[in-house]
C-alpha cells in the first residue's frame, strides 16, 4: 500500500458510510411499499443484521478464543423469551396465556414507562428488557461455563449443544407455563416499527465486540486460541478468560435473540434447535472463522440467499429456468450443497482472518479492474498448474506400480531375500500425541 489514510479520514469515512446506510434503511423501510421486490432487501437487512450479531458473537468464541461452542441457539432462545415475557401489554395477557389463566406477570415494562415518560418511555421500555435479556443470558452462561469450559474441543461442542437442548426442554415445560406459556407461542409483545432499530442495536453490539477483540482481553483470547499452554505460561488465567469470552458472547447472543423475537413478532421454543446453531456456525464459516467483517458479510449473504435470491428454486422458476425438480425444499438443498462446497474447497471463507479497513478497501478497489482483466490468464495458469500436478501424480503412480511389480517379481524368484535393506536418508521423528 503506497498511501495510507490518516486516522481522521478513516473515522470520517466510517461515520459517513454508517450514517448513509442507516438513513437509507430508515427511508427504505418507511417509503417502499410492502409488495415491491425492494422491500425484500429491507427484510434481508433486518434479519441479516440480527444474524450478523449472533454470528459475530459465535465468532468471538469459536474464531477468537478457540472454544468450539454450539450453544448459540439456546442462548438466543433465553434472550428471545426474556424480552418477550416482559413486554406483552397487560390487556393482551389473557389472550396470549389462554391456557394459563392469563399468566403470572400481568404487566409490561413498556406500558409502565410509556405511562410515565411518553414515547421516550416506550423505547426505554424496549431497551431495558433487551438489556435484561442479555444480562440474564450472560448469568446463565456464567453458570453453565463453570463446568463446561473445563472440556476441550469436541467435548465442549457436544456439552454446549446438550445445554442448548436442556434449555429448550425447560422453556417448553408445562409447569413453567404461567411465565413461558409452555409449548405455545408467545405473541403480541412490543416490537420495533422501523428496520433501523435492529440495524442500530446490532451495529453498536458488533462495534463493542470489535473493540473487545482489539483490547488486551482480545489479545489474551487469541493467545489462548493459538496455544493454551503458552498462554498460561505468559500469565493468562485460562479459565477466567474463557469464562469472560463465553459470557460476553452469550450476552450478545441474548440481545440478538431479543431482536429476533421482535423481527418474528411471535416466538416458540421449537425452532431454536441444533439446526439453527448449525446455520449460525455455517455463517461464521462462510465469512471466515476469525473475522468479524466476514461474519457480517456471511450473515447478509446467507440471509439474502435463503430469503430472497434462491426463493425461486422453491416456486419452480429461477433465473428463467423452469423445472419440475424445483419444488418446496429445493432451495435448501442447493443452499446446503453450496455450503458444503465452501467448507471443502474454500475453507478460509470470504475474509479468512482479515478485517475490513478503508486502506484495504481502497487498495482492493484500485486493483479490481486489473484483476478482472487478468482473470482469464490467471485461470489459464491455474489450469496449467493443475494439469502439471496431475501429470506428476500419474508419473508417481506409474513408478509405484512398476516398483511393486518389480518387487513381486523378485519375491517370486526368491531374490527379495537377498536384497540389501535400503539406506534411510531421513529421520522420522515420532509425534506421540500427533492428533
Amino acid at each position: 500500500m503506497e498511501t495510507r489514510l490518516n486516522k481522521k479520514t478513516r473515522a470520517a469515512l466510517s461515520v459517513i458510510a454508517i450514517a448513509l446506510f442507516v438513513i437509507l434503511v430508515f427511508l427504505g423501510d418507511k417509503y417502499i411499499s410492502a409488495g415491491s421486490t425492494w422491500k425484500m432487501l429491507i427484510t434481508v437487512i433486518e434479519k441479516g443484521s440480527i444474524f450478523a450479531l449472533v454470528a459475530a458473537s459465535m465468532n468471538l468464541l469459536n474464531g477468537f478464543t478457540g472454544l468450539f461452542s454450539l450453544g448459540q441457539a439456546g442462548f438466543m432462545l433465553i434472550g428471545a423469551y426474556s424480552y418477550a415475557i416482559f413486554t406483552i401489554p397487560g390487556k393482551s395477557h389473557d389472550a396470549v396465556y389462554q391456557y394459563f389463566d392469563g399468566g403470572l406477570i400481568k404487566w409490561s415494562i413498556v406500558e409502565i414507562l410509556e405511562g410515565k415518560m411518553g414515547i421516550f418511555g416506550h423505547y426505554l421500555g424496549m431497551f431495558i428488557p433487551m438489556l435484561f435479556a442479555g444480562l440474564f443470558v450472560a448469568l446463565i452462561a456464567f453458570l453453565i461455563g463453570i463446568p463446561v469450559l473445563r472440556l476441550k474441543s469436541d467435548y465442549l461442542a457436544i456439552a454446549t449443544l446438550g445445554f442448548a437442548e436442556i434449555i429448550r426442554a425447560f422453556f417448553q415445560w408445562n409447569t413453567l407455563g404461567p411465565v413461558t406459556n409452555g409449548s405455545n407461542v408467545l405473541r403480541k409483545y412490543t416490537t420495533y416499527n422501523n428496520a433501523i432499530f435492529p440495524v442500530i442495536v446490532a451495529g453498536i453490539s458488533i462495534a463493542i465486540i470489535l473493540l473487545l477483540i482489539n483490547s488486551t482481553y482480545g489479545r489474551a483470547f487469541k493467545a489462548i486460541r493459538d496455544d493454551e499452554i503458552a498462554a498460561e505460561a505468559m500469565g493468562i488465567n485460562l479459565f477466567k478468560h474463557k469464562e469472560l469470552s463465553f459470557v460476553i458472547s452469550s450476552f450478545f447472543a441474548g440481545i440478538s435473540g431479543a431482536l429476533l423475537a421482535m423481527f418474528q413478532t411471535t416466538i416458540n421454543a421449537t425452532p431454536f434447535n441444533t439446526v439453527m446453531t448449525y446455520e449460525i456456525l455455517l455463517i461464521v464459516v462462510i465469512g471466515g472463522i476469525g473475522s468479524i467483517t466476514g461474519s457480517v458479510i456471511g450473515a447478509f449473504l446467507f440471509t439474502a440467499a435463503s430469503e430472497w435470491w434462491l426463493r425461486g428454486l422453491d416456486a419452480g422458476k429461477w433465473l428463467g429456468i423452469q423445472s419440475s425438480l424445483m419444488r418446496p425444499g429445493f432451495r435448501k438443498v442447493v443452499f446446503a450443497v453450496l455450503i458444503m462446497l465452501i467448507v471443502l474447497f474454500y475453507a478460509q471463507g470470504i475474509m479468512g482472518t482479515k478485517e475490513f479497513s478503508w486502506d484495504g478497501f481502497i487498495g482492493w478497489w484500485k486493483k479490481l479492474p486489473a484483476a478482472i482483466k487478468g482473470w482469464p490468464q490467471k485461470r489459464k495458469a491455474a489450469a496449467a498448474a493443475k494439469k502439471e500436478a496431475r501429470a506428476v501424480k500419474a508419473a508417481a503412480k506409474a513408478r509405484a506400480k512398476e516398483a511393486k511389480q518389480d518387487s513381486e517379481m523378485k519375491k517370486a524368484s526368491g531374490a527379495a531375500l537377498f536384497t540389501p535393506l535400503p539406506m534411510t536418508d531421513h529421520v522420522v521423528v515420532f509425534d506421540k500425541e500427533g492428533k
Binding site: D154, Y155, G162, F163, I166, P328, V333, V337, V343, G434
Partner: protein
C-alpha cells in the same frame, strides 16, 4: 413385586430403545476412536436408512428391502467419508467437525425436500409388530428381538476386532494414527471398513427403531444420533462394549423418566448425564486412561 409390576413396561421399552441406540452408538465410537471426529452425519445416515426403507418397501419384498437398506447405508456412509472427511484428513480438527455438520445439514435438507417435510409412516413389519405379553407388560416383538440381536451383533463385532487381521489394524490405528501408517497399515482401508460396519449397524438399528415409533421425518435422526453419541462417551469413547452398556443405561433411564411423568426432560436427561460423566470420569466407564479429552 408391586414396583416391578408398574415399571416393567418402561424397563422393557428402555431395553429395546437402548439396544437401538447401541447399534447407532457403535458407529460413533468406532469412528471417534479412529478419526477423533464426532461424525454428526451418522444420525442422518440412520434417518436416511429409515426413509429409504419407506420408499423401498412399496415396490420390493421385505427381505430384499432390508438388504438394500443396509447396502444403501454403507454406500452413503463411505461416500460421505470419501467426499467430506478424507480431503480434510490433515486439516485442523475443527474443520472436519464443521464438514460433518455441513453434511448433516445437507442430508437433513435433502430429506426435507424428498419428503416435503411430512412425517412418513414406517412400513409395519408384521413379524416385528406382533404383540407379546411378559408378566405385567404387553409389548411388541421388536422389544424382545432388539436386545438379543444387538448382543449377537456386538459379540460378532468384538470377535472381529479381537481376532481378525483387519480388527487388529483397527486397534492399531485407533491407538496411534501416524505410527500405524508407518507400519504399513492402509489407513484409508481401515477407515472405510469402520464406516461400513458403523453404517450397516445403524441401518439395522433404524429398522428396529422405526418399527417401534412408526413415524419418520427429516429431523428424527438428530436426537437418537446425539443420544447415541452420549452413550459412546458414557461407555468410554473408542470402546464398543462401553458404547453398548452406555446405550442401555441411557435407554432405560430415559424410559423410567418418561414413566415418572417427566417426558419433557427425557431428552435433556441424556445431556445431564453427559455433563456429569465428563466432569466425574472423563474417560467413561471402559475408556482408556491416556486419551486427552479434558
Amino acid at each position: 413385586m408391586g414396583f416391578l409390576h408398574t415399571w416393567l413396561p418402561y424397563i422393557l421399552a428402555g431395553i429395546a430403545v437402548g439396544g437401538q441406540y447401541a447399534l447407532i452408538a457403535i458407529g460413533y465410537t468406532m469412528v471417534y476412536g479412529i478419526l477423533r471426529l464426532i461424525n454428526f452425519a451418522h444420525g442422518d445416515v440412520f434417518m436416511w436408512s429409515g426413509l429409504i426403507m419407506v420408499y423401498m418397501i412399496t415396490v420390493l419384498p421385505l427381505w430384499l428391502s432390508v438388504i438394500l437398506v443396509i447396502l444403501f447405508a454403507i454406500v452413503l456412509g463411505t461416500t460421505i467419508e470419501k467426499v467430506a472427511y478424507r480431503p480434510l484428513r490433515s486439516a485442523p480438527r475443527m474443520s472436519i467437525m464443521i464438514s460433518a455438520i455441513g453434511v448433516s445439514y445437507l442430508l437433513q435438507n435433502f430429506a426435507l425436500y424428498i419428503t416435503g417435510g411430512l412425517t412418513k409412516t414406517y412400513p409395519a413389519i408384521n413379524w416385528l409388530q406382533k404383540t407379546v405379553t411378559i408378566g405385567s407388560a404387553t409389548t411388541k416383538m421388536v422389544t424382545l428381538i432388539t436386545p438379543i440381536l444387538t448382543i449377537v451383533l456386538v459379540v460378532m463385532l468384538v470377535m472381529l476386532i479381537k481376532h481378525t487381521k483387519i480388527g487388529m489394524a483397527m486397534r492399531a490405528v485407533s491407538r496411534d494414527f501416524e505410527t500405524s501408517s508407518l507400519m504399513g497399515i492402509d489407513i484409508n482401508r481401515v477407515i472405510t471398513v469402520t464406516f461400513v460396519i458403523g453404517c450397516a449397524l445403524a441401518a439395522i438399528g433404524s429398522i428396529l427403531y422405526f418399527s417401534n415409533y412408526t413415524g419418520i421425518n427429516p429431523m428424527s435422526g438428530a436426537m437418537p444420533g446425539l443420544k447415541a453419541f452420549v452413550a459412546a462417551v458414557f461407555g468410554g469413547i473408542g470402546s464398543v462394549p462401553g458404547a453398548v452398556v452406555g446405550a442401555f443405561v441411557i435407554g432405560i433411564c430415559e424410559n423410567l423418566i418418561k414413566g415418572a411423568g417427566w417426558t419433557t426432560f427425557s431428552d435433556a436427561f441424556t445431556f445431564v448425564l453427559l455433563i456429569i460423566i465428563l466432569m466425574v470420569k472423563p474417560t467413561g466407564l471402559f475408556g482408556e486412561k491416556n486419551i486427552d479429552k479434558v
